[in-house]
Symmetry: C2
Subunit: 345 residues, 2 copies
């Protein structure tokens, strides 16, 4: 991802909400990354404690947390997202230190942000930002989350192209008032699949650090590129119905799911594990249902025949961000333990 960003003349600001790990963050620092995005003030504080000094809190500012943001801004350059005049007023009132302001743009996803063609609202927000010397209107930021709804990689490329076109149009319209705003985009499907980022200043993909079954279904990655698996102890084998029960449930994998061809739900793909890692997904094997602690795997006959209770099966998660958040820690293939924010408090 860094090679692609560099080749495109784009700053990589990886989103660390996927791994939430100071240890893994160091791997990025070792290859020269020094700007990151996070999804909460708590996560910003955690990575600030890990030495990161340029952090965008890529979530609409929660005005109840301005005191914490202000304290954090003493030691770390912070970017905050605003999408209303009200949020700017609250920042103006509460901050005693400088922060960068990114205007949150809805470029077509429809989740949140100001619609890219609502120039009047952007004008009003920028006017308010300019009144306070603590705030610098740094750029326009969007998350093209509708790339996840694309049914082909061409569709993802089209979402990327449309997003960039709209962001450039908006930047040019705002230039007389706001000067040369940066453009920040960032969703893993677009950053993985697309190659044309002309006009973009930075990209913020996050999930690519691990990828997952959802990304492989989208075409963002191959199964072999999925870098995280949940190791699940087998506790029961039901030969008659070709099912294996593992200790690996909703509190480990999350309930994120995709659908099998027959419409049934699929909560993860299954791999066999050995000391060296894991193999490719076993054909026809998947996690078909989850309780709080139980995972029920539908398995082909040859897997049923060779698995016993006490064995470990690996599950490639549908959504690695949620699984990593629930598990709160990692073991490398070398046996090293890796931290996660949710276990560091």
């Amino acid at each position: 991802m860094l090679a692609k960003a560099t080749a495109s003349g784009v700053r990589l600001r990886p989103h660390f909400k996927t791994h939430q790990s100071i240890d893994i963050g160091r791997w990025f620092a070792q290859v020269g990354v020094d700007t990151i995005a996070v999804s909460s003030v708590t996560m910003a504080a955690y990575f600030s404690s890990g030495g990161w000094r340029d952090i965008t809190i890529a979530f609409p500012v929660n005005v109840r947390e301005i005191k914490r943001i202000d304290l954090l801004a003493e030691v770390t350059s912070l970017g905050c997202l605003v999408e209303s005049v009200q949020a700017v007023l609250a920042l103006n009132a509460g901050l005693s230190r400088d922060v960068d302001i990114w205007l949150k743009v809805d470029a077509g996803y429809g989740r949140t942000g100001v619609s890219w063609d609502d120039t009047d609202s952007f004008d009003r927000i920028i006017a308010e930002v300019k009144k306070n010397p603590r705030l610098t209107a740094r750029g326009l930021l969007t998350h093209a989350g509708h790339s996840y709804a694309a049914s082909t990689t061409d569709g993802i490329v089209a979402v990327n192209a449309q997003t960039i076109t709209r962001m450039i149009k908006l930047r040019d319209r705002l230039a007389p008032m706001a000067g040369d705003l940066e453009i920040s985009i960032g969703d893993t499907p677009c950053c993985s699949v697309a190659n044309d980022f002309d006009g973009v200043d930075e990209m913020r993909p996050g999930n690519f650090v691990f990828y997952d079954v959802m990304q492989s279904a989208l075409g963002s990655c191959t199964h072999a590129q999925i870098a995280v698996a949940l190791a699940c102890p087998v506790v029961a084998v039901h030969e008659k119905r070709n099912e294996i029960v593992v200790h690996g449930g909703a509190i480990h994998l999350s309930k994120e799911h995709l659908f099998n061809a027959d419409g049934s739900r699929m909560f993860g793909r299954v791999v066999t594990m050995d000391d060296g890692g894991w193999g490719p997904p076993v054909d026809g094997a998947y996690v078909g249902s989850l309780s709080q602690e139980h995972g029920v795997i539908s398995a082909p006959r040859d897997l049923i025949d060779k698995i016993e209770i006490g064995d470990l099966l690996g599950v490639l998660p549908v959504h690695s961000c949620l699984t990593a958040n629930l598990m709160g820690g990692y073991t490398t293939l070398d046996g090293d333990l890796i931290d996660h924010m949710s276990c560091s408090t």
Copy 2:
């Protein structure tokens, strides 16, 4: 629930996997409860450290954890679930202390356990248990999780009645070999809705401590009985599409969902909050989509008009066990902080 159990001559062994809290556990101890169920060895160790001395680990024994079980059995009476000869052999080999054995029965749910009518398998398991004086065949245990699929409360009562009939039939068949095995049942819908528990020795409901939107949809409780809400700061209001964005996403609520009448997904009901608590669910308001940190609430016009960024909205979770697990802690209406296992490590 204790009153109902006592009136029925049934031991209440509440399942603590829902709250996972030593503080909340004390409320049970104060009314005389001294037997509990948990869903993992880690949870058993946590509650053992909180002074509990009679704990059933209500999950098929993970034979990779027998050493931990053995250490824990030194200070706490433990019940373990088995559903295969293989698991009994592993316990025989690994334990140096006494544990009770509960035979995990599938009485119709079809998740795991030995089918209630497969007497031969039960005979083989019991024969193996009897070979080891460390193990005591204590009883038959089932979870009638198919009560969650009942469409009416009459349906739940029918699941309860069928479950008890099957458990009694199995106990009577096994009596010549195993003596007087106890019968343990436990799912919140049956324990909430049914009133006839003749022949049952203990019940293990868990979710009833908080209830949630799923239970109210089933008829296990009213909305007013839901005792936990996620307090979510409002970060954006989208008047044009009647949506409110809150900081409350998949890593807070979990992705458990129900469906609205129009087939759209619903990840929680919305309540307004004040210092005294919260009101009834707002008609027409629900969490319609979740990202990692974002919750998008569909709201009626009058809620949109009175809500501003920085306000708190409450979300009644679809599945309180998963939300409590993710949040790792509670605040009472009096402002006291209550612990949760996932934040105690």
